[in-house]
Symmetry: C2
Subunit: 302 residues, 2 copies
């Protein structure tokens, strides 16, 4: 029985992790309230700031975009068209339809015009596809948000994503990466503020929100996402969660509360410079995108 706000209704969903049962309507309210709490707790942004959300068409970013608009924030979309056969075009159509429903704009970066599509890049650059794609997305998300005058860039990273990355960084003790793992990265040195308001919501909670709000999202997985290691870590973590309900959330929240401040105090911040070719912020003389561009030029001239 849903007892939220004193009204008793038949519940549509049980959330044993939080020891509550909720009807559809109260689930959505509860979900948005939790997001709002995360936004305030980590001082992510205020009502008068311009927000850009990076959207792939998947359930996480759509649940977040819908929630933020419902909470009264001004949020436009950013879609980076990676040029992956079949999937990219389908995702774009779904995103445009959803933006129309929300009454918001979408900016589209055509990777084919800016650099080269992911299928082309993965043939030339000798790195894992997910690593190339991550580098490219980080660069164009930051550049677009900043150039278009947005105050903050938000992504739909969920709790499962964050815990998986955290676990991988702990198993290998990548201290530098651990230090960067925080729901907010502050602006400065050419970087816009980056925030993850879904960092405490699980993939399943986001899926349920989409279902209850009749949100049509893109369901096909990326054809290149076969990262054996992180899939194995995820399987272990899902097992842990199934044995100790709420363990993922505790593990992540306590990391932020108890461990992250210690790392932050100890490790010196790397100095940010700017790329001598394109001028974008980077930590060496040449940024990753200009490095990729050179590789591309060489491959074309062969």
């Amino acid at each position: 029985m849903c007892k939220s706000q004193g009204i008793k209704r038949v519940s549509d969903i049980d959330l044993p992790k939080y020891r509550i049962s909720l009807c559809k309507e109260h689930y959505s309210e509860w979900y948005r309230r939790r997001i709002q709490k995360t936004i305030k707790k980590y001082k992510m942004f205020s009502e008068d700031e311009k927000i850009l959300i990076a959207v792939s068409g998947g359930k996480d970013c759509f649940a977040l975009w819908h929630s933020l608009v419902k909470l009264g924030y001004e949020v436009d979309g950013l879609f980076i068209n990676l040029g992956i056969e079949k999937t990219s075009e389908k995702a774009r159509d779904i995103i445009l339809a959803f933006a129309k429903r929300l009454g918001r704009d979408v900016h589209i970066v055509e990777l084919k015009e800016e650099l080269a599509t992911i299928p082309s890049l993965r043939k030339i650059i000798r790195k894992p596809t997910c690593s190339i794609c991550g580098t490219v997305k980080r660069y164009y998300m930051n550049k677009t948000a900043r150039d278009l005058g947005y105050d903050v860039l938000t992504t739909g990273h969920n709790l499962d994503d964050e815990v998986s990355v955290l676990f991988g960084n702990i198993i290998n003790w990548n201290i530098e990466f651990l230090k960067k793992q925080y729901p907010v990265l502050r602006e400065g040195d050419g970087f816009v503020r980056k925030v993850k308001p879904l960092c405490k919501m699980s993939e399943e909670e986001n899926r349920i929100y989409c279902e209850f709000n009749e949100i049509i999202y893109f369901k096909e997985p990326c054809p290149y996402s076969k990262q054996a290691t992180s899939l194995k870590y995820n399987a272990l973590l899902d097992q842990l969660e199934s044995e100790f309900a709420g363990k993922k959330l505790d593990f992540y929240s306590n990391f932020l509360k108890k461990m992250h401040p210690l790392l932050n105090q100890r490790i010196q911040k790397k100095e940010v410079g700017s790329c001598e070719i394109c001028g974008e912020p980077c930590f060496s003389n040449k940024c990753s995108i200009c490095y990729i561009r050179e590789k591309l030029d060489k491959s074309y001239s062969v």
Copy 2:
């Protein structure tokens, strides 16, 4: 084929984690060399110090005791007779026989005379049995080693033990416990130096050493050791190790190398006082053993 020291022999054991195959004799040499390396790396003790090893009769402490004697160290045993029906007496006989083989002394603490047996204590003290047993052993191991003039107390904690504890402390972010997790705890304030020379040797490597050296050890598990949580963690960690050979060792070694120094620099050391009843070192006015003793006295007087 065992190729150790240039001599080719049929190998008795493959160690894929280290990419070597060894015959029985060279396995034992390799095993002791690794222990010696750990002793030197963490400055555990020198050849002229008096060493006391806590022995339960199990494979880990026996493999360590045998190795240390073979390496030329002066090591006597300490057996705390917990008074557990059937098992404690059997363990004592096996320990006395092994000490005779090594030509070393064993000191025996009779818990029944000092305080009360574990089966009695678990009826009176409302704590998990493993927690009571740990408290009791830590107290009498430290007191005995110090009172008998030993420079250092060593235990047979193996890599699997250490990784399991480390994982539990990380999942719950027990920063204070993480800080204490180190192969050496230095002497001072009434505490003797405590060392774990097997911290980088797996349970299986210790078992093989016992097998190759015809060491008869006590195989029965403790009748109270049913810690559901740590068993579940162990199952997860064993799964991780089976998928990524050597992951446990990497995880533990990198914790010591990269993470532990950060914790150590940040967190203030708790001040050690002494128990106002027995005078043993402790962190409050009364030590855990005197607290247990009071509970016992009350239960007897009822």
